[in-house]
Amino acid sequence: MTEIRFTVDGRPCLAKPGQTIVEAAKANGVYIPVLCHYEGLKPAGSCRICTVRVAGRYMAACTQPVTEGMAVENTAPDLEDMRKSLIEMLFVEGNHFCPACEKSGNCELQALGYRYRMLAPRFPYLWPVRTVDAGTPLVLLDRNRCVQCLRCVRGVRAKDGRKIFASVRRGPRVAIEIDHKLAAKLTEEEARRAMDLCPVGAILRKETGFVRPIGRRKFDHTPIGADVEKGIGR
């Protein structure tokens, strides 16, 4: 199989045919920030934080396959500011109270906020009224923190293939719903996986919390993306 040559911010990179920009960049030690993307799941392109610019056109790097000779802009200041705007949008769109959240320190939205040095969002807070669904045995669904990344919709299925999480309504009122009948049969392991899939604190395993104390969590000492960038000499 022939490799595809492309560049990210002028840096020569190689991709395998069919690889998306995010995957190929990662393989070359280049971090493109992602939130809805999760390795192994079909990309959704919902958060748009991975937006890059190619020949003046904006595209989601998680869904766009690399093509020969593609010159990807990844860290142009205006592009980085757009990403920061999208992260800020997510903070004002939901109700995110990091200090009280079980996911703090493991939360990818919070970690992106830190990486992008977000202080006060430029947008006014929308303070939406959202509901919590504690009606299933193992899982708590807190829509206040949901970013509609659709990872749970894409990645959590019942044994017969049915979706356990689904989107309901549309537009600003869109929300994730958990199927009570199917969720009642979730095993401990599946519930854990659902929680781990969720980039924020919207899906939590009930009856447990703060097993790993704040200060010793994933992003407490290492910024998000650092694992990808380890390959680059900086």
Partner: protein, 602 residues
């Protein structure tokens, strides 16, 4: 209940039947109950949450009762300009409930709805599937009284419209308002001539003919039709599909409704030509729910075409071209006009756009190569096959060949459809339509551009004012801030909510716009709203979000003085919070003067 009659069980146990089942249940029961959700999920082996997801995506489906009769009153700006507010009040008074509610006796439900394609005869409403146009407060009251007395909506239609609207299969009061007949769509033509010529050629020759004609997609995006067909044909696949996008939802457009009413044979012939060109045996017409009243008429036309041998096995006397057409219904979602969302909906799912690539020409309906073409595009393609590429190319401009069907509405004396050659100036169009003296013209609907008089010399064509066909005229007395506010509201209502910039960004954009409209903004707010608009355009996933800030951005450009006039003079920063107004009541109660007397509103 026998299985054949049951709205759930009579459908195949195939998830692609989901929307058809929901539609039947909604029609039978007025809503989709929890019990029905469970039955549908069991029948199709889907999660109940997923069924609920589909019901709640579409405007005309509901989990709660919508009343024995449901009134959907158009909420487009043109409806408002034609007196919607008074009509809405009359509906509310007579029904005894507010919009968004069902009357206490369960008889009448009142709901607002996005543009229903009747902009030239507003205010209009869809009542139990029947269209009522040119409503007045008196007519609204009489309508509610009739419905409450148990008269079926279709029997409350006083007089039928013109043309096929009079037929017993349509029985509609809608009028066509065909103001100008051009040579292409309204030229004299013989049914079957185009398809017979096509099947006498090779598919490649058909594609080449369409390519030579320079036909560009009429839905607004302007993709070369021949090229689209060629891409689809090139894909190796067991099956290919041709789909007709009958979901014109851009506020202010209604020209496809007129084609569906008066030229359905030409349209279906165009779809068959496309099917022959790409190598499909099935064509699908995706018909927007608002035009469901035309469905029986369209089915009868299809039956006639089958009787005449233009559809079916060995269509149009060909050796081996087997082709037929099915109609699939939408259920109230503007975003389904986006081709990949349309395909999702046609497959029975929520109408959420797909990521591209892959494009529908390679992975489309049921993952097979699929072309999606606009109604007008297909009808035009049929005429090109009938008369030849050279005939077509001689009309219009070099880059924009042929004619365009425009839907003209708003402040003009002759609203309706106009078939004009590309290259016509806006000024000439306004002259034709009786809209001279306009303050502004919205070309291409909310997702298009708001043009000031200085731009009335601009031309309708792909290289200047590209449009899917919606032209709304705003006379001198209109408040453009009300127009922009209505358009922003429309995009928020119709966003699918999948991606962040469209879902959250449009709400934030409206918030900022309202601040400006209320006179609380500084110059900094103007800079920010422009920047936010560009962000939404650049990062949104589909055409809806990529155009949703246009009402703000194009009026900022065409009418900067309107925005400047609303700014707080000399203020470096405009607070959204009006302190004086907020403490006014408290101060009055305490009987003392507020310390900050100057209200920001004054």
């Amino acid at each position: 209940m026998p299985q054949a009659k049951d709205p759930v069980l009579r459908h195949p146990k195939d998830p692609s039947a989901l929307l058809d089942i929901i539609r039947d249940v909604q029609a039978a029961a007025g809503h989709v109950s929890d019990q029905d959700i469970g039955r549908i999920a069991a029948h199709l082996k889907l999660a109940e949450a997923e069924v609920r997801g589909a019901v709640t995506f579409y405007h005309f489906f509901s989990l709660t009762p919508r009343g024995r009769s449901a009134v959907y009153l158009n909420d487009s700006i043109t409806s408002r300009m034609a007196g919607r507010t008074a009509v809405a009040r009359a509906f509310e008074e007579e029904a005894g409930c507010r919009f968004g509610e069902v009357s206490a006796d369960g008889a009448i439900g009142l709901f607002p709805t996005s543009c229903i394609g009747m902009n030239d005869q507003e205010p209009s409403a869809i009542v139990d599937g029947v269209v009522f146009t040119a409503l007045t407060p008196d007519k609204a009251r009489a309508l509610v009284r009739g419905l409450r007395a148990g008269t079926p909506a279709r029997d409350l239609v006083a007089a039928r419209g013109d043309g096929a609207n009079q037929s017993d299969l349509v029985r509609s009061m809608v009028v066509n308002n065909i103001r100008r007949r051009g040579a292409v769509l309204f030229g004299a033509h013989e049914t079957g001539a185009a398809l017979r010529r096509a099947v006498s050629m090779t598919p490649k020759q058909v594609i080449d003919e369409v390519k030579r004609s320079g036909l560009l997609g009429r839905g607004g995006a302007g993709f070369p039709t021949g090229l689209k067909w060629e891409f689809c044909r090139r894909e190796k696949a067991a099956q290919r599909y041709v789909v007709c996008n009958g979901d014109e939802g851009e506020p202010g457009t209604f020209k496809d409704r007129v084609i569906l009413t008066e030229l359905p044979r030409l349209l279906f012939e165009g779809l068959a030509v496309a099917g022959y060109a790409v190598g499909a045996s099935t064509g699908i017409l995706y018909l927007r729910s608002e035009y469901a009243y035309l469905r029986d008429h369209l089915e009868e036309v299809l039956a006639g075409l089958r009787r005449d041998g233009l559809l079916g096995p060995k269509a149009a006397g060909s050796a081996s071209f087997d082709f037929d057409i099915v109609i699939k219904s939408g259920a109230g979602a503007y975003v389904c006009g986006e081709e990949s969302a349309l395909l999702e909906s046609a497959e029975g799912k929520r109408g959420e756009p797909r990521d591209r690539p892959p494009f529908p020409v390679s992975v489309g309906y049921r993952d097979m190569p699929t072309t999606v073409n606009n109604i007008e595009t297909l009808a035009t393609a049929a005429r090109i096959l009938e008369e030849g590429a050279a005939w077509f190319k001689a009309m219009g401009t070099v880059q924009s060949a042929g004619t365009k069907l425009l839907s003209v509405s708003g402040d003009c004396s002759r609203p309706g459809v106009y078939e004009v050659e590309y290259g016509l100036t806006l000024a000439d169009l306004l002259e034709m339509a009786g809209g001279t003296g306009a303050q502004a013209v919205q070309v291409g609907g909310p997702s298009g551009a708001c043009v000031a008089p200085a731009g009335f010399g601009r031309r309708i064509c792909f290289s200047d004012l590209a449009t899917g066909g919606s032209v709304i005229v705003f006379g001198p007395g209109r408040d453009l801030f009300e127009v922009v506010g209505n358009f922003l509201e429309f995009f928020i209502e119709e966003s699918c909510g999948w991606c962040v910039p469209c879902r959250a960004g449009n709400v934030l954009l409206r918030k900022k716009f309202e601040k400006i409209a209320r006179g609380l903004a500084s110059a900094e707010d103007l800079r920010e709203i422009e920047e936010w608009g560009r962000l939404i355009k650049s990062t949104s996933r589909c055409g809806l979000g990529q155009t949703s800030p246009n009402p703000v951005l194009t009026t900022l450009k065409s009418f900067p003085e309107l925005y400047q006039a609303r700014l707080r003079k000399g203020a470096a920063h405009g607070s959204e919070f009006d302190l004086a107004a907020a403490v006014r009541d408290g101060c009055a109660a305490a009987g003392r003067e507020p310390e900050c007397k100057e209200s920001l509103h004054d």
